[in-house]
């Protein structure tokens, strides 16, 4: 949930790198799990079976069963839905609110710019996870409030990226030409600036998406995400904690699911950045 853009490996040239392919594959797996869970899971996740609880991984239950006898693989598949939905919507909130704010700040400058950027500073001044916990504590736990808590921090990230990129474009010749032609600032932002910063926004979107998955897991872990019986990866880890000594599979598989999806999204973001603009890789 921080805005720091992490430089990727030194893949040179604007071509699809191995990172991009791996990232796309892992992300594809993540999305496929979500889609699959909509039509089929090995077992229904709502079924409890006290007689068959805490079974180690086997041919019948690939990832074992939990303390209520539920199939862990099925829960991970269904849990992916929740992670995906929260992270995508939170990134969307940031994009839809943050980008217009950033464009506005770049176009107007002066007091508007100052106001937008200082409100951004204000949000950045809060330890993000702590504020997210406070927000969900105020509004009550649940997936929707988790989206809001995470989305709030995405707003300044997108605003900053959009403003920075837009500022440099406002000095370009074609923008100047549009101004001379009498186009308004809003129209220029929409027609000339936005299309040219879209690549950057897509890259940032992938990064915020991955951070959203992590943040959702953290909120669920402390019980502030999606509520039971909806399976969620973070809560599965929380519930696994006291059982870790004799049922380690309960702690391992949901964690691996989180790592793979976040890793995939990060690699995808890095790969896309290299693809769009190889120079960006070395800019920080």
């Amino acid at each position: 949930m921080s805005e720091t853009t992490i430089p990727g490996p030194a893949t040179r040239g604007g071509r699809a790198s191995a990172a991009l392919w791996l990232g796309a594959a892992l992300t594809g797996l993540f999305v496929a799990a979500v889609l699959l869970s909509l039509v089929w899971t090995p077992y229904p996740v709502a079924d409890l079976d006290m007689a068959g609880r805490l079974r180690a991984p086997s041919a019948a239950h690939w990832f074992g069963t939990d303390h209520f006898g539920r199939d862990v693989l099925s829960m991970i598949l269904v849990g992916a839905r929740n992670s995906l939905a929260v992270a995508v919507v939170a990134a969307g909130v940031g994009l839809l609110v943050g980008v217009p704010l950033g464009l506005l700040a770049a176009a107007k400058g002066g007091l508007t710019d100052e106001l937008v950027m200082r409100s951004n500073d204000l949000i950045f001044a809060f330890p993000s996870l702590l504020l997210a916990i406070m927000i969900t504590a105020v509004a009550g736990p649940g997936a929707i409030n988790a989206v809001i808590a995470i989305g709030v921090f995405n707003i300044p990230v997108f605003a900053r990226v959009a403003r920075g990129a837009a500022l440099s474009l406002w000095t370009r010749d074609y923008v100047l030409a549009a101004r001379v032609a009498g186009k308004g600032k809003g129209l220029i932002s929409l027609q000339h600036i936005l299309p040219n910063i879209a690549n950057l926004l897509i890259v940032q979107g992938a990064i915020q998406f991955s951070m959203g998955v992590l943040a959702e897991a953290a909120l669920s872990y402390v019980g502030l995400g999606a509520q039971p019986p909806t399976p969620s990866w973070g809560r599965m880890l929380n519930e696994a904690q006291t059982l870790i000594g004799f049922a380690p599979w309960l702690a391992i598989f949901p964690g691996v699911a989180i790592v793979l999806s976040v890793l995939g999204l990060n690699l995808l973001g890095d790969g896309l950045r290299d693809l769009f603009d190889p120079k960006l890789d070395r800019s920080r």
């Binding site: 992490i6 409890l48 609880r53 809060f126 904690q241 870790i244 702690a251």
Partner: protein, 856 residues
């Protein structure tokens, strides 16, 4: 450049100072705990220590029978026994009680105990403005008369056969007029142990009272440690950090503990009826057929197996099975889904209905709730689960009766009378009230027994709630520990007769206090900041620095407003939380006024800000000590942790970053960067769990959680921080390594580096003498920015390891609605972030004059 270097030097000095202190502690090895000290763990920390002004069970669990005593006490088997009254007589009509007091009893502060004290204590408990949580039970008392210094007479308005029992509760203990007002933080009673100290968030220590009127306890001291987290509890027991956990919170781990010869696992009984409570005042639960249908839909065995791992006795009414007057009513509504469906159809719900199930935090409730939801679904009842914190539960369920169903354990002894009150589950029955009245008038035992049985039947027949199981008392004791109570007839941990049947060892060594370290580091940090400011003024001019300062102040002030407003809209009443489950509304209102929660919004904001400016953070609602003190205690854990994590992150990141940069584009670089990607993708709490699995559960090298405190010795304290620091550090190290690598690659392309190479320097010299120095600047910026987040961002990791640090303090304060603590800590952290950002800005501007022009 100069500014950056001085900022850097300042950081290093702070870091070095911290390390030096840690090393000093290292030298002072911890000594073994004496065997005349009992370390007893409990799941919840009491909000305060005054049993006459709060209903939280945790208060009694520390002080009942240890610090405080009443006229009578409830003994280990649940019988009323003499305590400060040697004997008593009751008039035949049950309206007059005469107590004969013990001679020569003194309070721990030396003040005498006599009939005047009894009158004071009882009059205080039943006074109009009394904050006593069980005030209603004292209602039958018309007046308390001092006959002579050792004789007291109670005159009742009407017979109340349960009064003698109530006088044995913690709410009726004797308090001295001299010290009564301070009992919340410094309890003074007549008991065998006196209060020694309270490390908030961690433990309370009692020591033997040498002037005790009764037989001297065999223990010298008792330390009550608070370990709510089941994992941490298990780890602490296994590591030998605690001698007894009388209400062990993780039934899943008992099988393993039974196999360990160092412990004894004894399953006793509590007075806790665990029920699925139904809102009888609200349709469809006002319909007896529906309530009976729900009872048939529930399979108690599956719940006891799934939620309690088989521990717990099924019950069919609101009455404990170990009581001699118990009637087994579990067969009244056998598990029968078809029957449940038929009853629902008969009640007019052939397709079932939708309802919410609000669950409080304990794992028995959360787990039972999930199983209940699945079971009710089979009968056609569609359940939505809502997990609540205690504060929200008290507010929504108990106070405002805004719920359909909930799961909770009613732990008070003999609490069947709640069915005759205007209680949260909304049951009203004239027939039941009549039974209760007759019971209160009944003085002879056979009549009482008959009536108690009739009451159980009435509750079960009306199927008021669905009765699940009697909560077991899961005792885990050191194999040598003797004399603790097996059952919980009252909510108490009476340790007066506890002892170890093996010889004691040496006394623990005294270690230096933590406060010294902060005193040490603060001036160093301040001097560094001042030097940087001075330099900035000289190099950048007053306009620039002034402008930045103004922006900083405005950001900070805006943040205080945001925090304050956010806190104000937080639902849940802190006063209600503090008073606990059975508190009367008047008592809660009295406390609200006491806490100053009645003022207007702007007034409270300005009071708070004015206080902040003076360095006064206010007084914690729950602990009733200055917030500044709480924060200082927690910083003593969080700061070393953050420093350790930062040092580790830097130590790991630098070699990796340099290694990768020097081999950029090659396989080694790709593999290293791939590994850092994996660490960045790892949630730190999951990484923490893996570390616990390997190093604590598997190898048993390091403790899995908890913090022994710095005065337990440096080594145990440091050991407790190793895994949390690793969990925090490695994901940060991955980020840092990538930043460093990328910065190094940039500088390696610069002209001066090429010149250095052309000059014939070796590649090592080029990297370390030229490139690395310049790559340090962006890297150290990230280090600086990480620090405040390490301090606060450890919230979750502190929760995994159960460390009493800043993050945990806020988290706990949020759930306890200790709003003033939340406000202060969040604002403090915001302050840290803003200041670090400011310093980084100044550093940059000092290096790169171009930045000045744009921002000024």
């Amino acid at each position: 450049m100069g500014a950056a270097r001085s900022e850097l030097g300042n950081r290093f000095r702070t870091l070095l100072a911290g390390l030096a202190i840690l090393l000093a502690w290292l030298v002072l090895a911890s000594a073994a705990q004496a065997r005349d000290t009992l370390r007893l763990a409990m799941p919840l920390e009491p909000p305060n220590l005054d049993p006459t002004a709060g209903a939280a069970a945790a208060i009694d669990e520390v002080v009942y029978g240890n610090v405080f005593e009443g006229l009578v006490r409830i003994g280990p088997t649940g019988r009323v026994e003499p305590a400060l009254a040697e004997s008593w007589e009751v008039s035949p009509d049950g309206r007059i009680y005469v107590f004969h007091l013990r001679r020569g009893v003194r309070f721990q502060d030396g003040s005498p105990f006599d009939a005047g004290v009894v009158k004071f204590s009882l009059d205080r408990a039943r006074a109009k403005d009394s904050a006593n949580a069980q005030k209603a039970y004292f209602e039958p008392i018309e007046r308390v008369e001092v006959v002579d210094p050792l004789t007291v007479r109670l005159v009742l308005r009407h017979a109340a056969s349960s009064l003698i029992y109530v006088l044995g509760w913690g709410d009726a203990v004797m308090v001295s007029p001299k010290s009564a007002a301070d009992n919340a933080a410094h309890p003074v009673g007549t008991g065998p142990f006196r209060f020694a100290r309270w490390r908030r968030g961690d433990s309370i220590e009692l020591v033997r009272n040498p002037a005790y009127w009764g037989p001297q306890p065999r223990l010298n001291a008792v330390v009550f440690r608070f370990i709510p987290d089941p994992t941490a509890a298990y780890a602490a027991i296994k590591a030998g950090n605690i001698d007894a956990y009388p209400n062990f919170p993780a039934p899943e781990n008992l099988a393993e503990l039974r196999r360990d010869p160092r412990f004894r696992v004894v399953v006793g009984a509590t007075e806790g009826e665990t029920i699925l409570a139904l809102n009888n005042a609200k349709p469809p639960f006002d319909n007896l057929l529906v309530r009976r249908a729900l009872a048939h839909a529930i399979d108690r065995k599956a719940i006891i197996d799934g939620a309690m791992f088989g521990y717990g006795q099924p019950i069919g009414s609101h009455f404990p099975p170990q009581n001699p007057d118990y009637v087994d009513l579990t067969g009244l509504y056998p598990h029968d889904v078809a029957r449940a469906k038929a009853l629902l159809a008969q009640a007019g719900y052939p397709n079932g209905f939708a309802a919410t199930l609000k669950l409080p935090p304990p794992s028995y409730a959360r787990r039972s709730g999930e199983i209940i939801a699945a079971q009710l679904a089979q009968a056609g009842v569609r359940v939505t689960i809502e997990n609540l914190e205690w504060a929200q539960w008290l507010d929504q369920v108990l106070k405002n009766k805004n719920f359909d169903m909930t799961v909770v354990s009613h732990t008070e002894p003999m609490d069947y009378d709640i069915y005759g009150r205007d209680y949260y589950f909304g049951y009203r029955s004239a027939a039941f009230d009549a039974l209760l009245d007759r019971l209160n008038q009944a003085v002879d035992a056979p009549t009482r027994s008959l009536l108690l049985k009739a009451i159980q039947r009435k509750i079960a027949e009306d199927s008021v709630n669905v009765f699940l199981f009697e909560f077991p008392k899961l005792n885990v004791w050191d194999a040598h520990l003797r004399g603790l109570w097996r059952d919980s007839p009252v909510q108490a941990n009476v340790v007066a007769e506890a002892w170890f049947d093996e010889p004691g060892s040496t006394a623990p060594a005294e270690a230096p206090r933590v406060a010294q370290s902060s005193a040490w580091a603060a001036p160093v940090a301040l001097a560094g900041v001042a030097a940087l400011m001075l330099l900035a003024f000289v190099r950048l001019g007053a306009t620039y620095v002034g402008g930045r300062l103004l922006a900083l102040t405005l950001t900070f002030l805006a943040a205080t407003v945001v925090v304050f407003l956010l806190i104000q809209v937080t639902p849940g009443d802190p006063a209600a939380y503090m008073m606990g489950l059975n508190a009367s509304p008047e008592a809660v209102a009295a406390l609200r006024t006491q806490m100053g929660l009645d003022g207007s919004l702007p007034q409270r904001y300005f009071d708070w800000i004015a206080g902040l400016a003076r360095g006064d953070f206010g007084v914690s609602y729950t602990y009733r000590v200055p917030v500044g003190q709480l924060i200082a205690e927690r910083v003593a854990v969080s700061l070393p942790l953050a420093l350790m994590a930062l040092a580790l992150a830097v130590a790991v990141a630098f070699p990796i970053g340099v290694f990768a940069a020097r081999r950029r584009g090659r396989a080694a670089d790709t593999v290293t960067m791939g590994v850092t990607q994996v660490f960045m993708a790892m949630p730190n709490f999951w990484f923490a769990m893996l570390l616990v699995l390997v190093f604590a559960v598997g190898l048993r090298w390091l403790p899995a959680g908890g913090f022994p405190g710095w005065d337990a010795g440096a080594w145990p304290a440091l050991k407790a921080l190793v895994l949390p620091a690793l969990a925090l550090a490695l994901p940060q190290a991955a980020i840092l390594a990538r930043v460093l690598r990328s910065a190094l690659i940039d500088t390696l392309d610069e002209d001066y580096v090429r010149t250095a190479r052309a000059k014939g320097l070796t590649e090592g010299q080029v990297v370390y003498r030229h490139a690395l120095r310049n790559a340090l600047i962006p890297t150290l910026t990230i280090v600086g920015l990480q620090f405040p987040f390490l301090l606060a961002g450890a919230v979750i990791v502190e929760n995994v390891f159960f460390l009493p640090g800043l993050g945990r303090l806020v988290f706990q304060a949020i759930t306890q609605r200790d709003l003033i603590v939340v406000q202060s800590v969040v604002v403090l952290l915001v302050f840290a972030v803003v200041v670090v950002n400011f310093l980084v800005d100044l550093g940059y501007a000092a290096i790169d004059p171009r930045l000045r022009r744009r921002s000024a």
